[in-house]
């Protein structure tokens, strides 16, 4: 018998923002990017949702629904810090943890009964500890498997623990609406199921296998298994590729080529700086362009040799940007990831690469300065590009 915990921090960005600024507690609050008129709500607090604000709504509209709305900017680095702080606490409980998405984690306590006591007690302790140390609320589900634990966490509407009696998983989830099951979206299959008069998970579970196949095709056995509360998947710690990645949110969304190239230049410099610190270079670049309307484009390129100097990185990245950025809609942020890390310039040296020495010296000098005084102490001209003022 397993003890799997699902730990869910509701409205994660909102909760984190409230830790950073306690004055925001208890008031309707949304997280939305800068740029006033065209920003979309990325996360909304309970109080805001009660006023009709939803995630994905235009900020202007949200303000109209809820005039006393407070708005805070998305702060990815705060979220990252919060996540690592969470993991620090979790590490005291179990080495088996799995992040699902920001603000949602699985923890496997199986076999630690002697050490931690029953799963539900450990979960309650964990919830209190997180509340006390990090001031973050937690909705916690404890169950035999990940699926039911997640569903159980969804059944608590204020910080606390929901423990599902082992062996009663199927009965526990039976009365819940079908959309609760992961893999059944509200939009498409949810609608079909409603039309077929399948409203709760129990009806799905009792359905004949052949009938279920009609609806879900090859996925039918999986759905049936899930509908019966069975989920054999283990809690698997994340396996990460070694990569160096940097993301930049533009000061204001922009579609001017020079400004985007400037932002990209700063990104490559930051990546290059970190690569050189590690003494490594990259052979593979991945650039993701996030547009203002939520659409994003990814392009990758493979480099001929393993590099880590700013100039080579920037040249390759600029080509990527031209390929990735073909729409007219403004760009909100850029993310550059360097993969396939390796020792730089491994291989034979180029006989005629005379200017390289000068570049390398310059690079060293820059790194030295930046190492002491920060990245912004010295900048390339290209990185400072502004939108031409002639634009009206």
């Amino acid at each position: 018998m397993r003890d799997v915990i699902h730990f869910h921090i509701p409205d994660f960005p909102v909760s984190v923002a409230r830790v950073a600024d306690p004055a925001l507690r208890g008031r309707p609050l949304v997280v939305a990017p800068q740029g006033a008129g065209r920003a979309l709500v990325q996360a909304a607090s309970r109080e805001a949702r009660a006023e009709g604000v939803t995630v994905g709504m235009a900020l202007e509209r949200a303000r109209r629904f809820c005039p006393q709305l407070r708005v805070t900017l998305p702060e990815p680095h705060l979220l990252a810090r919060a996540t690592s702080a969470l993991l620090d606490v979790f590490a005291h409980y179990s080495p088996l943890w799995e992040p699902e998405r920001p603000g949602r984690l699985f923890l496997d306590l199986t076999g630690s009964g002697r050490l931690l006591g029953p799963g539900r007690d450990a979960a309650a302790r964990l919830e209190r500890e997180i509340a006390a140390r990090l001031s973050l609320p937690g909705l916690v589900g404890v169950a035999e498997n990940k699926l039911v634990a997640r569903i159980a966490a969804g059944c608590v509407d204020r910080p606390g623990v929901c423990d599902v009696l082992r062996g009663s998983e199927e009965r526990f989830i039976a009365p819940l609406p079908v959309a609760t099951l992961p893999g059944i979206g509200e939009a498409k299959s949810g609608e079909l199921l409603a039309e077929l008069s399948l409203r709760n998970i129990g009806e799905l579970a009792t359905l004949d296998a052949s009938a279920l196949r009609l609806v879900f095709g090859a996925a039918a056995p999986l759905v049936q298994q899930r509908a019966r509360g069975i989920d054999p998947t283990p809690v698997r710690p994340p396996q990460r590729l070694p990569e160096v990645a940097e993301e930049a949110f533009l000061e204001r969304a922009e579609n001017d080529t020079a400004v985007l190239a400037g932002a990209l230049c700063r990104l490559t410099e930051r990546c290059g700086f970190r690569l050189r610190e590690k003494g490594q270079g990259t052979r593979h670049l991945l650039l993701t362009v996030h547009h203002l309307d939520g659409v994003s484009a990814r392009r990758t390129s493979r480099l001929v040799e393993c590099v880590n100097d700013d100039r080579a990185l920037f040249e390759a990245a600029a080509m990527l940007l031209r390929r990735a950025c073909v729409r007219r809609v403004r760009v909100r942020s850029l993310r550059l990831a360097c993969r396939e890390l390796d020792a730089p310039r491994s291989g034979q040296l180029d006989l005629f690469a005379a200017p390289r020495q000068r570049d390398a010296t310059l690079q060293q000098a820059l790194d030295h300065l930046r190492g002491r005084h920060g990245m912004d102490v010295i900048q390339r001209g290209a990185a400072l590009a502004r939108r031409p003022s002639e634009a009206f």
Binding site: R38, E195, S197, L207, D256, L292, R330, V331, A391
Partner: protein, 1012 residues
């Protein structure tokens, strides 16, 4: 040093030029130019307009174009008529022929053209053929030295041009925005060769000279070229089509014969009065040479038994006799001079309406008869309107679509760019949500995008036929539909003497056709269309007088229905009003409803109902006698000006035209002076003249002449007759043909009010379109959303063999797309066969059916039974789900009125039923309403207000939102919700309306409805 501009782009260069020909001509004149060439890109899109601008500005116009094809480029200037024809032919080929080669084409069409180019690939082979009229183009900022070297090498004379697009350097941004729009790009991505240079300015001669100290002959050559080109272009000659190769006399003889034949058919015999009018018209037609034109139009009109010749042509007895129009001009006293008069210089204009779905066949016939060589369609020149310019500029700046929509959906599609800008500053729709960020800048740029040509589109029905070759007169392109289309829109085509025949689609003619067919089928009653006199029927007359005309052609708008009610008074029958001639008054009613005439309408109704009146001046007595001393018809402008101020018929007609045109301020001032001077000459007091003039001005915007209104009124009467006698067939035809004034839902509500039963779609009973029989209207399968066209065709074909016995039978025989069958089930098409409770089960069956086909299992004889046994037996939907599905599949509720769902709440509110509105005149009441249609109008002070029609389950009623109420509630009027309205009932001539003072929603208060 003198210099002539030979390479200039105006706003008629699609996606390139920014300044209007007026602005360019004025600027050139101010710089002291005597000549100016307009060379728009790949077209003569603005030439007729340019000629008149140049004449006004006092510069001599040179016609040309810049031809750009692949990598080749040349500026072509027409030396003479011949050159002009060749230019048109060459540009037509450029647009119409695949694999067009500029150099090749120039070798074919070189005669009469002067060619300027800096492209060696063009110049070298041409120079080999013939060196005359060939120049190397030297332009500052465009590889000047390479071009000069080319000139030396080929030993061709150089000619200086500025390739002007801009008037000042600041215009460059506007050009770049336009280019970015055209190329679907952004400002920063535009490359240098995709835009004009910042220096491509209209420069003065000394400025140009400063670029050519080393080559003064380049400047002198421009003068030489200008001297070679004709500048006295005359486009005023009218080009008539030729009928079957007859010469002028033969054509007239044929017309004379057919007109007299027709007169005998129409009238039985030709009496003296008819003879007099006929010979007067024929004589005029002969002297003007219009006989061919009449014959061509007659031939086209004869393609359909149900047409409606409209416009001023209905005043012509000849047109009536030929069957082009259907209203007797003698009986209804229609003013022939409005159509043709001795002084009129422009071509006559005959418009014919055909049933909308027969129009394409008529055009096909015309092209088959005259060929693409002689016939082409008129174009629309698509530019920027308020909404489009904002949207496009915002896109260039990278604003996401959702945000653009938020702003533009508040803007009327009819506003121009500058109107939009001022509306955003003051209109209440924008109040409380000011535009921020980049929007002020976007508006500033969009404001300047008004006259620029973006592309051509097909005019809906304008057809031009010439006797010889259309490509001699104007360049021709191919429309998206594949029809040849000239580069000019209707006004320029008219200015260039091309006679347009308008072949228009009219939905109501199709409604009448379909309703008559249904009547013949259901009741076995055939109606002879030609001899049909709808107003002989008492029921039709009663319906018209009561304003119950929803669905009737042309008189169904709320404003017209209310006017009809006021005229004949639904509440109190009125002997004075009863005695009036219904047809005549119908014609007046449909003419007086025009934007600027609201204040005359009340006066008109009062006079008609017996108020004493006198016309403004005794001189007007005769002119305005039939319309109670008020100007109602467009031609009364002409007549008033003639009677009061001594205008000639020609001058009066010009005045009428000026009033109805858009850009008129300057000319109008001249006519005003003339009118007042003429009036004073006849001793008419100034105050009276002032009043007359304000009546004349009320015709601005759109207004109608009596012949046109009479033609339309006849169709209205036929609609009314059908509605009164065969309501089910008629209403079904109205909804099926779509495009009426109201939504299908509003028409179905009208059906209910008329006592017809609205029947839901049914798999065996519904046709593709709506069908009416007895006292029921059956919703057609066309109403089911997302039902595929092929699916529908297959279903109907299979059903013809035998009706479907069950859902299983349907699946087996039709094998529909899963999505189609799903929609049919959800729309309730199988409720009668299988029962409403079975819908979820049917969807299971459908799933089993599609899965079997998808996996390739064969449908075995006993397989179906076995599988059915395994399918689950789901519970039926609850009532709310059924309604939701109905709404989702049909777009509205058919089983009941949406307000019926709130019955209990409505009762609790104590709302007054709308049919009892009249009993509450002068009091404050509460009503509930469902939005039907609305119309926003500006008050005399320019504030917006809105007239909205609502309906409850008992009647449709009109509500007025005066500016204060409008400003407060306009953003709530978003349809599709049940409203609670509070306000005061006002009544005029017995017709009540609600003046709204408060608006709320029925569905937001606690206990949200009985249906949940």
């Amino acid at each position: 040093m003198s210099f002539t501009h030979l390479h200039i782009h105006s706003a008629f260069s699609p996606g390139w030029g920014i300044h209007s020909p007026e602005a360019l001509c004025a600027a050139a004149k101010a710089m002291g130019n005597t000549h100016l060439a307009l060379t728009d890109r790949n077209g003569l899109y603005g030439i007729p307009h340019f000629l008149s601008c140049a004449r006004e500005a006092g510069v001599r116009p040179i016609i040309g174009a810049e031809a750009l094809s692949g990598a080749n480029r040349a500026v072509l200037l027409a030396r003479d008529e011949d050159g002009y024809a060749n230019l048109c032919r060459l540009l037509s080929e450029l647009h119409c022929r695949g694999g067009f080669q500029l150099t090749e084409a120039l070798r074919t069409y070189r005669r009469g053209l002067i060619i300027l180019s800096d492209d060696a690939a063009v110049l070298t082979p041409l120079a080999r053929d013939e060196r005359n009229d060939l120049f190397v183009e030297l332009s500052p900022g465009h590889n000047l030295h390479a071009a000069l070297a080319l000139a030396r090498r080929l030993r061709l004379p150089p000619a200086a041009t500025s390739r002007a697009v801009l008037l000042k350097t600041e215009d460059h941004l506007q050009h770049r925005v336009l280019r970015a729009i055209h190329l679907n790009s952004t400002l920063s991505r535009l490359e240098a060769q995709q835009i004009c240079g910042e220096e491509d300015l209209l420069r003065s001669a000394p400025q140009m000279a400063s670029f050519f100290p080393h080559c003064p002959e380049a400047l002198e050559n421009t003068q030489r070229i200008a001297a070679l080109c004709t500048c006295d272009w005359d486009f005023s000659r009218i080009i008539f089509p030729a009928f079957r190769g007859l010469n002028r006399d033969e054509a007239f003889a044929e017309l004379d014969r057919r007109a007299r034949l027709g007169a005998r058919r129409r009238f039985g015999a030709i009496d003296a009065r008819i003879e007099a009018r006929l010979s007067k018209e024929l004589a005029l037609i002969r002297s003007k040479g219009f006989a061919d034109y009449f014959l061509v139009v007659e031939e086209l009109a004869a393609r359909s038994p149900r047409t409606c010749g409209r416009g001023s042509a209905a005043a012509s007895l000849v047109a009536y006799c030929l069957g082009i129009t259907h209203v007797d001009p003698l009986r209804h006293n229609l003013f022939f001079e409005r159509f043709l008069n001795e002084g009129r210089l422009d071509p006559p204009d005959i418009d014919i309406d055909f049933p909308w779905d027969e129009r394409d066949a008529v055009l096909d016939f015309a092209f088959a008869r005259y060929g693409a060589q002689r016939a082409a369609m008129v174009a629309n020149q698509v530019g920027f309107k308020g909404r489009a310019s904002l949207r496009e500029v915002a896109k260039v700046l990278g604003i996401p679509a959702a945000e653009i929509k938020q702003v533009t959906e508040r803007i009327s599609g009819y506003w121009k760019a500058d109107q939009t800008a001022s509306a955003i500053e003051s209109h209440p729709l924008f109040a409380g949500a000011p535009l921020e960020g980049d929007w002020p800048q976007i508006i500033a740029i969009a404001r300047k995008l008004t006259g620029q040509l973006r592309h051509l589109s097909l005019h809906c029905g304008g057809l031009v036929i010439v006797p010889d070759e259309i490509r001699r007169y104007v360049p021709v392109e191919v429309s998206a539909k594949g029809l040849p289309m000239i580069q000019w829109e209707k006004d320029q085509a008219e200015a260039a003497g091309l006679v347009k025949i308008d072949i228009l689609g009219n939905r109501s003619l199709a409604v009448i056709r379909d309703a008559l067919a249904a009547v013949a089928l259901n009741r076995g009653r055939e109606i002879d269309y030609a001899a049909w006199r709808p107003l002989d029927d008492a029921r039709a007359c009663a319906l018209l007088r009561a304003g119950r005309t929803m669905g009737c052609f042309y008189i169904e708008s709320p404003a017209t229905r209310q006017l009809l009610c006021r005229m004949w008074g639904e509440q109190e029958p009125d002997s004075q009003a009863r005695s009036c001639d219904l047809f005549e008054h119908l014609v007046m009613a449909s003419s007086i409803i025009r934007p600027a005439a609201n204040r005359f309408i009340r006066e008109f109704v009062a006079r008609m109902r017996g108020a004493p009146w006198r016309s403004l001046h005794p001189l007007l007595d005769e002119v305005l006698a039939e319309t109670y001393g008020l100007a109602v018809y467009q031609e009364q402008i002409t007549q008033m000006a003639m009677a009061l101020a001594g205008f000639t018929p020609f001058e009066g007609d010009q005045l009428r035209k000026v009033i109805s045109k858009k850009h008129k301020e300057k000319k109008l001032a001249d006519y005003r002076r003339m009118f007042f001077a003429g009036g004073a000459g006849k001793g008419v007091p100034e105050q009276i003249l002032e009043q007359c003039w304000s009546q004349i001005l009320s015709f601005a915007g759109y207004s109608f002449c009596k012949p046109h209104s009479a033609s339309y009124a006849l169709v209205s009467c036929k609609s009314a007759w059908l509605k009164a006698n065969y309501p089910a067939e008629f209403m079904a035809a109205v909804i099926s043909n779509q495009g009426g004034y109201y939504t299908p839902f509003a028409y179905l509500s009208e059906c209910r009010r008329m006592g017809l039963k609205v029947l839901p779609p049914e798999i065996n009973a519904s046709a593709a379109c709506y069908t009416g029989a007895g006292n029921g209207v059956r919703v057609g399968l066309m109403q089911i959303r997302e039902l595929s066209r092929q699916g529908l065709v297959r279903l109907l074909r299979e059903r013809e063999r035998a009706p479907f016995a069950s859902f299983g039978d349907f699946l087996r025989r039709v094998d529909p797309e899963a999505a189609d069958a799903r929609q049919l089930v959800k729309a309730g098409c199988f409720d009668t066969l299988e029962g409403k409770k079975c819908r979820p089960r049917l969807l299971w069956e459908l799933l089993a059916h599609t899965r079997r086909f998808a996996t390739g299992e064969s449908g075995q004889l006993f397989a179906a039974e076995r599988e059915d046994a395994l399918l689950p037996k789901p519970p039926p939907y609850d009532e709310a789900t059924v309604l939701r599905q109905e709404l989702a599949t049909l777009g509205f509720l058919v089983s009941c009125h949406p307000l019926a769902l709130w019955r209990r709440r409505i009762a609790a509110l104590g709302a007054v039923p709308a049919e009892r509105l009249g009993a509450w005149t002068g009091r404050y009441i509460t009503l509930v309403g469902w939005w039907v249609t609305g119309k926003t109008v500006p008050t005399r002070l320019g504030e917006p207000m809105e007239f909205v029609s609502f309906e409850d389950t008992s009647a449709i009623f009109e509500a007025t939102f005066f500016p204060r109420a409008y400003a407060r509630f306009c953003r709530m009027l978003s349809r599709r919700r049940p409203y609670v309205l509070k306000g005061k009932v006002e009544s005029e001539f017995g017709v009540p309306t609600l003046t709204v003072e408060w608006v709320g929603f029925l569905d937001v208060q606690e206990g949200s409805g009985d249906a949940g």
